[in-house]
């Protein structure tokens, strides 16, 4: 691939999955209780997309990675201190809600608009990366809508592996039912890949990468535009978290077989 790829990764923060989440009625509709106090992490699927993008950029000379993030600026800033140590990227920050109750259509419009405005972006070389879904904010439709808005029609979802040929063509493994993969071929950019888990481990924290990234991260945060999102336009009939069951019971002198049988019965029920 002459000149390399321009890889734009869409990804933002979600509440740390270890936290207890509780929906409440906020002034602008549903929200999570104490959301701004909860620790946040990079959306896990977007994280895989970012790590895959960085690896691809490392292997294809001339490539560059942008991370386009829509989220509350203060929380994005905090998040960047963690992920900026892992891989190199240039941040495009958009200040707005990253709650789980924003409309994917609105989110896609904002992300596409921000991508179009990236200085020096060559859309003929564009690979649009993101998570195949978000851990908090959509049902797996945002990335397709961003791609549509950018006139990208080669779209792949739940991607676990991307094999790049020297001519820029790609072989892509998408997850399908029954644990199998659909193998697709694509002539090259532009294309959209919504990643599942990919095949790379999370990179270790590297202080030098962090220092390099910070030269662009802080200015990007400072000039982040505010996006009007999650402030009405939708009405929610009801909001609830996926059901969780937690039951504490202390049993003494119970054989492991009995405990195991009880769990099996519970699962069957």
């Amino acid at each position: 691939m002459s000149g390399g790829f321009h890889i734009v990764v869409c990804g933002s923060l979600v509440p740390d999955p270890l936290q207890t989440l509780e929906p409440i009625d906020g002034p602008n509709g549903p929200a999570l209780k104490n959301e701004m106090m909860l620790p946040a992490v990079l959306d896990p699927w977007a994280g895989h997309a970012l790590f895959e993008a960085a690896e691809l950029a490392k292997n294809v000379p001339g490539s560059k990675v942008w991370l386009v993030s829509l989220g509350p600026k203060a929380k994005l800033q905090q998040l960047m201190m963690s992920i900026a140590q892992k891989v190199s990227f240039e941040l495009v920050a958009i200040d707005g809600s990253a709650g789980g109750f924003t409309d994917p259509f609105d989110v896609a419009a904002i992300l596409a608009d921000a991508i179009v405005k990236i200085d020096g972006l060559d859309r003929s070389r564009l690979l649009l990366f993101g998570g195949c879904a978000s851990a908090s904010r959509d049902s797996g439709v945002t990335m397709q809508m961003v791609a549509e808005r950018l006139d990208i029609f080669d779209q792949f979802l739940a991607v676990d592996k991307l094999t790049m040929s020297s001519d820029g063509s790609m072989e892509i493994l998408e997850r399908i039912e029954a644990g199998r993969y659909q193998v697709s071929s694509c002539d090259g950019a532009p294309a959209m890949l919504g990643w599942a888990t990919g095949s790379l481990p999370e990179p270790p924290n590297n202080p030098q990468v962090g220092m390099m990234n910070m030269r662009t991260v802080m200015p990007a945060l400072q000039k982040a535009q505010t996006a009007q999102i999650g402030v009405g336009g939708l009405s929610y009939a009801a909001v609830e978290l996926p059901k969780q069951r937690r039951e504490t019971r202390v049993v003494k002198d119970t054989p492991a077989e009995v405990v195991a049988q009880e769990i099996v019965d519970w699962l069957k029920a």
Partner: protein
């Protein structure tokens, strides 16, 4: 083995992002550039640029795994004259302050004749809910006009401001393993190796920790920080100083029940229960949220202490439970506190380094205050650094003593620390001499004190047979010990049961198992690729250890008894990095009578909650 490490050069490297480092970075960042953006404090490593200042924090985010606090806020208000608690989540002005003396509603605590007399004496003041509200709060303890804060939320609040300034950098998730020493000069820090096995040997994705070379290393890594420990090993403590007093703090953050009448800013201190030596606290934040917990002090000479179980008894005391019943756990945490104060002060400044905050002995145990003092020491160092940087002078020992130390020595932090220095000696002789000592030192401004001698756990924790004499027979003790060893179970549970402490009746909200508290409130996580940071130096010493207090006191149940006895097991992924194992171990290290058999080093992970 010669390892090829990446290096990076900065002007100032800070270790640990707590209140002290926050105070340092805040003050320094205010002076680095002029309003027009021109550089006032120029970098030596990047000429023309402002000082390059980085901070490495072990926890996965800033403000993880710290504590709730009540503070007079003196130093904070000097830095933020217009400080409005409403700007910060989980903060309020102190609205009411009470001290409760808790009697024992179960009759199971170990009360000396002096404490029983105190029960009767305080009882004359009128008892309600098995507790006596003291009519007088001594001025040295009083936090009138102060603040209740979540240090976690405070750290995030100030951290965001700092990072938003673009002048300093704070990198979480990056533990620092040791200082870089060239003879007696500190020339920077070494970050931990990543991609290693639990024993520290290189594994897949091995990445040697980077060396950060710095003109000044600011050590604010708290009471169990590895850099501070290694500096103490190298330099020793100043003549006559000892770090021999500490406490294990454990707390809940609770959403109070809807009918709770406690108002934001309410502060409650308790003493007397579940053991007389255990102090408790309850601070109320806005929106019906409270931080509450206990401190298990070093002078509680019990070989069966378990902070978690004791905390559950404390919460159920009628005087506390009436406020909590129906509440739910939001967050949980624990930490150790270095309570030697000025008596445990290390070498505060040397060539290329300075120490600030709790690890520097700034915590004041008489006033029960640490955040404000820690912040103040950070500010004092920053002012010294600004003076030196403006003059283009190096960060030498002499210069740091002239600037930072001189400020610290002439400040209220030092004056208060001197009053507190001998205030708790009395506790080494018992609860009553301890309380008298605090009162005497506090009311006399430190002129009069009750004497005593602090001893290490291996010099004073009694063996089971002595401790339980008259309560549990030697045969029963032997049987319990043998049974627990065979099955790898902790000793404190059957022993406390045997003493008659009732089982905790779980309610699934506040009265929950330790493991549930870890899962619901602790949210502990550790990244892969880091070495175990807790090590038992001499396995034979563990084999011969009767009490295995490290297991009982482990806040995260990361240290567990081994089946068949012997050296306990350590699970890095459960550790919350409180370091209490190191302080509580009842065996000294071979050839080192000052340090315990537990080595607590640099590690990754811990609590994932900033609501503490």
């Amino acid at each position: 083995m010669n390892i090829d490490r990446q290096t990076m050069e900065v002007d100032i490297a800070c270790v640990g992002f707590g209140p002290a480092t926050a105070g340092f970075m805040h003050t320094l960042s205010q002076a680095m550039t002029a309003e027009d953006g021109s550089v006032l404090l120029e970098s030596k490593v990047m000429p023309g640029m402002p000082l390059q200042v980085v901070c490495y924090e072990r926890a996965d985010d800033i403000g993880f795994g710290v504590s709730g606090v009540v503070t007079r806020g003196k130093a904070l208000r000097e830095s933020f004259p217009d400080l409005d608690p409403a700007q910060m989540p989980m903060a309020a002005s102190v609205s009411d302050e009470q001290v409760l003396y808790l009697k024992d509603p179960l009759g199971k605590s170990r009360r000396s004749s002096g404490v029983r007399m105190l029960d009767r004496l305080f009882g004359l003041l009128g008892t309600s809910d098995h507790a006596v509200k003291l009519p007088y709060i001594p001025p040295f303890l009083c936090k009138k006009n102060g603040l209740v804060l979540s240090i976690g939320q405070f750290s995030q609040w100030i951290g965001n401001q700092l990072m938003g300034s673009g002048l300093v950098q704070v990198w979480p998730g990056m533990p620092v393993s040791e200082p870089l020493l060239e003879e007696d000069r500190v020339v920077g820090i070494r970050l931990v190796d990543q991609g290693v096995e639990t024993d520290g040997t290189a594994g897949p994705g091995y990445m040697p920790g980077m060396d950060i070379r710095a003109h000044l290393t600011v050590v604010g890594d708290g009471p169990v920080g590895p850099v501070g420990q290694k500096l103490d090993e190298h330099f020793g403590l100043p003549e006559g100083n000892h770090q021999d007093e500490w406490a294990g703090g454990m707390k809940f953050v609770v959403e109070l029940p809807e009918d709770c009448t406690l108002q934001p800013g309410f502060v409650l201190h308790t003493l007397g229960y579940p053991e007389p030596e255990i102090f408790g606290f309850l601070y109320v934040y806005p929106d019906r949220v409270a931080a509450l917990g206990i401190f298990v002090p070093s002078w509680l000479d019990s070989p069966v202490r378990s902070s978690y179980r004791l905390l559950q008894y404390w919460m159920q005391h009628p005087a506390i439970w009436k406020h909590l019943r129906g509440g739910t756990l939001r967050s949980w945490g624990a930490k150790s506190l270095q309570e030697s104060g000025q008596r445990g002060e290390p070498v505060l400044a040397g060539d290329g380094f300075a120490r600030i905050g709790e690890g520097s002995g700034s915590t004041n145990v008489l006033t029960g205050s640490g955040l404000d003092e820690a912040w103040a020491t950070g500010v004092q160092l920053a002012e010294g650094v600004i003076e030196l940087a403006k003059a283009g002078e190096p960060f030498s020992r002499a210069n740091l003593e002239r600037t930072y130390l001189a400020r610290r020595r002439s400040s209220w932090v030092e004056a208060d620390a001197r009053i507190a220095k001998q205030s708790r000696y009395g506790f080494t002789r018992g609860m009553i001499p301890g309380l008298l000592g605090m009162a005497l030192s506090g009311l006399s401004g430190g002129r009069f004190n009750v004497g005593g001698v602090f001893r290490r756990p291996w010099e004073r924790i009694p063996v089971f047979k002595d401790y339980f004499r008259g309560q549990i027979s030697e045969q029963e003790i032997d049987s319990i010990v043998e049974g627990c060893r065979q099955h790898g179970k902790p000793l404190f549970e059957p022993l406390m049961d045997k003493l008659g402490w009732p089982p905790i009746e779980y309610d699934g909200q506040l009265l929950i198992s330790h493991q549930d508290a870890l899962l619901i409130g602790g949210k502990v996580q550790a990244a892969h690729g880091f070495a175990d940071h807790v090590r038992f130096v001499d396995p034979d010493a563990c084999n011969n250890c009767e009490s295995q207090i490290c297991v009982a006191m482990c806040s995260g149940q990361a240290i567990t008894a081994s089946e068949g006895g012997g050296m306990p097991e350590f699970d890095r992924e459960k550790c919350i990095h409180c370091g209490i194992c190191m302080w509580n171990c009842t065996t000294s290290r071979p050839g080192d009578s000052l340090r315990s058999n537990v080595s607590f080093e640099a590690g990754s992970g811990g609590l994932h909650s900033a609501e503490n």
